[in-house]
Symmetry: C2
Subunit: 384 residues, 2 copies
DNA sequence: CCATCTTTGTTCGGAATCGAAGTTTTGTGT
DNA sequence: ACACAAAACTTCGATTCCGAACAAAGATGG
């Protein structure tokens, strides 16, 4: 019925449309139509007025925002050793957030059971108790087929291949569920929360594994579904290490958190997580620092041609290793040294603005996009 | 006035909308509105009916096409040693086409003078004499700033830096002129004429230089303006050769047509053009074949990570060297050997469908997009 | 402090768009 | 050969949407 109500809601959600006049400009609709439509959306409980903004030389705009009681989404970041979860309102603001340890190798049944339990528990908390759940976004540390909402051909997740986690959660929670790769989500999250005006962005997630998410023209680029893989690019190293893919000079086999821990173990230094690795770097343990710096150099070596090729506005460095300054410095150095001046002139290289939350927030942003693009908006409108 | 007439024309132009019913489905407009609007467009001379199509179980559709007398665009491919030119109708069909030798090092004044003269001469030919010129698309063999319609920082085009060829042609011809890099245009041309349903495509142009054009989600990806550069990626070679960028292991310095000719000259074999190079390969001259195969291997080595990263549907090989079978075979081999199975499983690797016309046709497609997205459609409608 | 210009938002009549029902023309099944 | 379904348009009344003028609120500048 109401053809373009969704457009208006989406503009408000992204923070681009803050007043009726601005919505009219951005949506191309007539100011009068926008006014009417906004009135309906307010009546339906989707939008609400939020005081007045600053004048720009005339009457002050009556600011609009999404009504905080309209509904919430749940965003989940499933890591190899943790489960992070948040409840977001429709504008993407975090209402609740918590993390618990986990182990993805326990297998899909175990993990999704635990996940489900925690989602339900979280939704019973006072802050969000009465609010309808509209969707769930889940990030997984491996290749994902978003259409089927399954993990496919994962390397460090035994038992997960083809497990239909999306369908399962969707059936049990009764809402739409989107599943996506964690590096892709990091790109989405950083784009949405950190660099909303930069339409071409690469986000490198260097943690236990190494992956990259791509935002092209403001949208997540998936290619045929596997885009962003940088883990099996050959790098220049003296000693070959056999990778899971069968080659011996893959970036992942030499520069991932897992690879670094393996090397340290051979030197008699036992490290259990990427976080501990970074602590050792910050404590100034020379062997570890050298290793991490070298990993950064290798990552930079791989990223250089990709930056020339894709020519992004921003290169975001995230994941556990990005908390280690030598890693970041080495990546920066390699890129500035070897990329074309034309490609680096206006390039921003930054660590993740949203830090450890990037993937989780990306999951939220993705499912929010889906919800706001769905029939839900029109249905809610016509329901009252 | 007529808000969405342009959408309909564009759908017909792209070949997606072939009947009123199909247009209604694709545009989202009501069938009745489409019918009325189409009637107007036919009256205005923009569309015409073109017989009936095959039935799909009911009444046969009355097929629509752009009226061939509505106007034309000129597409130009400025090469280092040639000038190719065509006149296209609004649907992108070639009406006239011709090539003449040229030398880009003569400088911008000389070349654009010659270009202008030939455009004017071509437009006086009987086939297109009465038809209004609506735009010109120009491809240049170097980096281009499309917004300013200038060449920037070219390496093999002395005198061209910042030369405002777009503005100059536009002033003298009185129509809009778009200027774009040749590899980008090859991607556009191949996407439009060869792989219209594949939305992610890489087109490698291996001729005198080496470049790559990117189609992401169906649109030309420009990044910050320099996207697609693969010429200065380091490759593994025994003997360093200093490149114009100051490094010694750039792909371009070892695998471009210019580099191969230089190497052959050192061996006492004088070759004047990429075409002659390919002839020698086809004649089975072993030194040349080895060299070209090695160039293909190097190009493949550079493309491998890019294919993993971008994960396209299609990789198009074009430019002079792509006519040499050993070059193509070596690229294919390198990619299938080292890319991820997930990335190559559904990947098509093909030589340019439109052959030597790719860049020129891409220039036409690009300017056609601009014309059909401009006010021209609405103006023509309201003019009668 | 008042006139003027800007910007925001609303009112209301006319025009464009929709959508449901109808017409035309064809495949399909019996 | 016939009824029936299906697809491609067309007609026409009901609705929506636009756009120009207006009202509200405030900045600017003498």
């Amino acid at each position: 019925m109401a053809g373009s109500a969704g457009d208006l809601v989406r503009l408000v959600a992204k923070g681009h449309g803050r007043s009726r006049a601005e919505l009219a400009r951005l949506s191309g609709m007539a100011p009068s139509s926008v006014s009417l439509r906004v009135e309906e959306l307010i009546d339906a409980g989707l939008l609400r007025e939020d005081g007045e903004g600053a004048s720009r030389g005339g009457r002050r705009p009556r600011q609009l925002r999404l009504h905080e009681n309209a509904g919430v989404v749940v965003a989940v970041d499933v890591g190899t050793h943790h489960l992070r979860m948040a409840v977001l309102d429709l504008a993407g603001r975090v209402l609740l957030e918590h993390e618990l340890p986990g182990d993805i190798t326990e297998g899909p049944e175990q993990v999704s059971e635990r996940l489900l339990e925690h989602v339900r528990m979280t939704l019973r908390q006072a802050t969000v108790e009465q609010l309808p759940l509209l969707g769930v976004g889940i990030g997984m540390p491996g290749p994902v087929d978003p259409a089927a909402a399954k993990v496919i051909a994962p390397s460090r997740m035994p038992g997960w291949n083809e497990y239909p986690i999306g369908r399962r959660m969707s059936e049990l929670l009764g809402v739409r569920v989107v599943v996506e790769n964690d590096a892709n989500l990091m790109a989405v999250g950083e784009h949405r929360y950190g660099w909303p005006d930069r339409d071409n962005l690469m986000a490198v997630k260097a943690g236990t594994g190494i992956g990259c998410g791509i935002i092209a023209s403001g949208k997540l680029h998936r290619g045929r579904g596997a885009a962003g893989d940088i883990s099996h690019v050959p790098v220049h190293v003296p000693e070959p290490v056999t990778c899971s893919c069968g080659h011996s000079d893959c970036l992942e086999a030499h520069a991932s958190g897992a690879a670094l821990r393996r090397t340290l173990r051979a030197q008699g230094i036992e490290v259990s997580s990427s976080r501990q690795l970074v602590e050792l770097v910050n404590d100034g343990v020379p062997e570890v620092t050298t290793l991490v710096r070298n990993a950064g150099r290798l990552a930079g070596q791989v990223l250089t041609p990709l930056v020339n090729f894709f020519n992004p506005d921003v290169l975001v460095l995230g994941g556990g290793l990005s908390a280690a300054e030598p890693f970041v410095a080495a990546v920066r150095g390699a890129i500035y040294e070897r990329c074309l001046p034309l490609a680096t002139r206006d390039l921003e290289i930054a660590t993740a603005v949203t830090g450890r939350d990037a993937c989780m927030l990306g999951a939220g942003a993705l499912v929010l996009d889906e919800v706001l693009a769905s029939e839900w908006v029109d249905d809610t409108l016509s329901a009252r």
